[in-house]
């Protein structure tokens, strides 16, 4: 099978995967928060720093927790959408086009935004999960970790790849207009 054949074949699989994830991820998040109070303790770890256990949440806190989760998840869904579109283009055999460059550039920006959304998630989630606690027992956290920096760096690298692909697009355009 030629390279283009392989690109088309595997891109079709990735396109289907990302299209499925686009709908599956918010459903899973919704399901998580809807059964939160029945989940075992180890599935709630990490939501608050220092291993502070999360008590049973009232409905308002559950709804807030879902909304707050959708901040980083919404950005992730945007990135998943761009990935699905990129692989849809590869599936059509369109490799060095302006649309591909735009998808990659937007994906890079989305990764960087995902880093910011992740940083924003911590304080919002800690407030949502502890707002029903009595005064003096509410928690506000803010943090920056290596996963956030890694995400930001990967976003930056994807931006560079987008510029490289734009050069490829220019060369392809020149090739197409060479008789």
């Amino acid at each position: 099978m030629s390279n283009v054949g392989k690109i088309k074949r595997y891109s079709r699989r990735f396109r289907r995967l990302f299209q499925g994830l686009f709908y599956l991820v918010p459903l899973l998040i919704g399901a998580y928060w809807s059964i939160f109070n029945w989940l075992p303790a180890d599935m709630k770890l990490g939501l608050l720093p220092g291993g502070v256990p999360v008590s049973e949440l009232p409905l308002v806190s559950l709804a807030l927790g879902f909304v707050v989760s959708m901040v980083p998840v919404g950005v992730a869904m945007l990135g998943i959408n761009y990935l699905a579109r990129l692989f849809a283009l590869y599936e059509e055999g369109r490799i060095f086009t302006g649309d591909n460059v735009r998808c990659l550039r937007n994906l890079g920006k989305t990764m960087m935004a995902w880093c910011a959304a992740g940083i924003l998630f911590d304080p919002l989630a800690s407030m949502a999960l502890t707002m029903h606690h009595p005064p003096g027992q509410r928690i506000l956290t803010i943090g920056l970790g290596s996963p956030d920096l890694t995400t930001f760096l990967v976003g930056g690298m994807i931006m560079v790849v987008a510029w490289v692909m734009d050069e490829g697009r220019r060369l392809q355009d020149e090739q197409n207009l060479t008789v």
């Binding site: 355009d173 020149e174 207009l177 060479t178 008789v179």
Partner: protein, 77 residues
């Protein structure tokens, strides 16, 4: 583009259609059209040789340099 391809003129002189020339030199009619309409960014020497052979002309009969007075159409870099 400051290089003008006078292919239409030579085709008319030799009383040959674009389709016939494209078939003889082994390129698609679409590619020949790109050349005729001035959209081509480059031409291979092999293609130029084939056109000259089949139209019995010199490269200078096909290619003309005309200084551009308006550079507004150049693509942004």
């Amino acid at each position: 583009m400051a290089i003008i391809v006078n292919l239409d003129v030579m085709l008319a002189r030799r009383k040959m259609r674009s389709r016939e020339l494209a078939r003889r030199i082994g390129i698609t009619e679409q590619n020949l059209s790109i050349l005729k309409t001035g959209k081509a960014k480059a031409i291979r020497l092999a293609t130029l040789e084939a056109i000259c052979r089949h139209l019995d002309c010199q490269p200078g009969d096909l290619l003309e340099f005309r200084e551009e007075t308006n550079r507004a159409d150049e693509p942004d870099e």
